[in-house]
Symmetry: C2
């Protein structure tokens, strides 16, 4: 294993993780549990929606033509034939000069083509004074207007939002076919890594990466499975990696951060499958490994938490999106004006943390290894590999946390 | 109960739900389960981070002054004194003219103040040729540079992101004090409402609102508790509302959508507590009720799903944010240019669904009751109560779904 990594562009790393992402399995869940899940198949309505012409206000069902020219001074006077009961078919139809009271959501009687709101009418015994003209279709949702029977209401790959779940209810889906949540194995290694419960001695640091990687997997619709800190020993690491690859859909190994540790991780991945990429032109995050143990994707994250996090955001996100089947991943982005010059090294993508306030992105300078700028920032900007930096005032796209 | 609602401005409705939102309880969870939860107390680091001067690259720890002017042609020649082992204190210190190999994450030996990357050095027996000058502090994270012991690393009210969880690990938090997830009771009523499993007869519609409201509560960090469809009968609804108010932290009653049903819901809320607001100057969503059963907030949502959803987005969101303790709620917003004129009625806030593509917001016209525009849109714009509409080209803020 060479001491110098052969680095590949970020775009190649993304293409690679997309290629090796295993297709998600499917399962059926009750509609109550479907929010946030990803549809595994197109969904079609089992009926016309609405199934009847429906009033959207409390008012009087009328023939619009009967209300032409109606006003406060000279109202149209209609004969009231009764009222529509909620949930039932009207008992009579409307002929010229007639109206029927209809509550919000009630069925429009046949013969009527509009509803005049109660606020624009006045009842006097069995007559109703209409004080505002109604146009054809006013205050009515027409039969079939929302969805036709067998219409595709939502497509495969859609991560279900609250309103989507409501539409699925209307379309008759008591259960939903969704992609299974991928299980992501998380393990940390490195002689310097100690558990969060321990106070580090000189030279030691707590295991932050397991928690960052696990929480990131969760944020992206996956289920983390924690394997803890594995002793920095070839036999122990091989056993842990094999176990995780056998139990999970992908594995994220974090650190060790030193070259020796990285080389051990890489050679073990090669032994159990293949190392496809070892080194990416990204800062921070260069010493990243992309490979497979059998058919299970294995990503070797840099040991330093700040670097590991950028690799999760820039690269691993694409692996997880591929594995969840999400066709419209949630990536919050805003465009902002850069508050100061940002230098960058040509030949690599530089990820710079920024604060965003009122359309202005202020770079948080400081070493890329700092954790405090990760939690003080609102997101990152990426300086493409071909640039030596960006100037004050440049409009940049901020990927928000 | 008057047939005409006394409508209040949206701002008053928001102030009201904020005021009646009960303060969240607290619980302690393991760090693995903390992602997405809201901190109930400020968190301070139990140690200095890093706890030692730490190399961020594989390289040679040096005194920066020894490398001044070093280059490919005339390298600085230093005596190599050995190597630092990961996780251990270095065995020796560096004096002028000396260097020590240090792996990424290793402790910087005393006497050194910078690290030269291996790529910029060449080892020749026990001598190392340094081919690039290092500046003081280069490639080193200094003791204490990230967080000092007892520094506040994250504040109360923060919804924990992946990187936050990593920082909590570094700060020694094996468990975290968070706000409990509020439990939101969801019930639907209305003679026209049938379960999703049933094919609606004429005049009937399936219960979409329970699912929309429950999923919305989940998206906002709450746990929905479903009470199903309650028969449109005063005794049954009173019993269901009392039960839900006794078991939950807030209750969302949806519909019935007709005036009679709304009046029944309002008078029952008044009987069990108080109706504070009945009618909001918002379209769609005017016939919304805000009240309390005892101290439990109760919101009466409009019966039509599209209207109910806008009320969730515009009003109920603020209730839930108050109840989760989230000080920085996730509201995805983008600024975009309006693609066409949008008329609006003065005196109410109009919520218009839009698609957003490349900075342009295209209004999806169509009746406000349509579900299909909810799922085809990317978000909404709000036309304030004082406006009669917005003109093409206006820069608008889109609240993304």
């Amino acid at each position: 294993m060479s001491i110098f990594l052969k680095v590949v562009p970020v775009s190649e790393a993304i293409t690679t993780v997309r290629r090796i992402a295993p297709a998600p399995a499917q399962e059926t869940v009750p509609l109550e549990s479907a929010a946030g899940r990803v549809l595994a198949a197109d969904v079609h309505s089992d009926m016309d929606i609405p199934g009847f012409n429906r009033s959207v206000v409390d008012g009087y069902a009328v023939r619009a033509a009967d209300t032409t020219g109606a006003g406060d001074a000279i109202p149209a006077i209609l004969h009231q034939k009764g009222r529509v009961e909620m949930g039932h078919q009207p008992e009579s139809e409307i002929r010229p000069g007639e109206c029927i009271y209809v509550p919000t959501g009630g069925v429009l009687p046949s013969g009527a083509d509009a509803v005049v709101m109660v606020e624009n009418a006045e009842q006097a015994k069995d007559q109703v004074l209409i004080k505002k003209p109604a146009s054809h279709g006013e205050n009515v949702l027409l039969y079939n207007e929302d969805f036709s029977k067998l219409d595709r209401v939502l497509g495969r790959g859609r991560r279900l939002l609250a309103q989507d779940v409501g539409v699925l209810a209307a379309a008759g889906c008591a259960t939903v076919r969704v992609f299974c949540k991928p299980v992501i194995g998380i393990l940390s290694t490195g002689n310097e890594i100690v558990p969060v419960t321990k106070r580090p001695d000189a030279g030691q640091v707590r295991d932050s990466n397991s928690f960052i990687a696990g929480a990131f997997a969760e944020e992206h619709g996956c289920t983390p499975h924690y394997y803890g800190i594995v002793e920095d020993d070839r036999t122990a690491l091989r056993a842990a990696l094999k176990k995780a690859a056998g139990e999970c859909d992908a594995v994220l190994i974090s650190g060790g951060s030193s070259k020796d540790d990285r080389d051990m991780a890489a050679s073990l991945i090669a032994e159990l499958g293949e190392v496809i990429i070892h080194g990416i032109a990204i800062a921070p995050g260069k010493p990243t490994i992309i490979g497979r143990a059998g058919n299970i994707p294995v990503i070797g994250l840099p040991g330093h938490p700040a670097s590991a996090f950028i690799v999760l955001v820039a690269i691993v996100r694409h692996l997880l999106d591929g594995m969840t089947g999400d066709s419209r991943p949630v990536t919050k982005r805003v465009t902002a004006r850069l508050a100061s010059n940002v230098p960058s090294q040509k030949g690599r993508e530089d990820y710079i943390r920024v604060r965003v306030e009122e359309g202005v992105a202020t770079p948080l300078f400081g070493k890329s290894g700092l954790l405090n700028t990760l939690v003080k920032s609102d997101g990152v900007i990426c300086i493409p590999a071909g640039y030596e930096g960006l100037e004050t005032g440049t409009m940049v796209e901020v990927l928000l946390w």
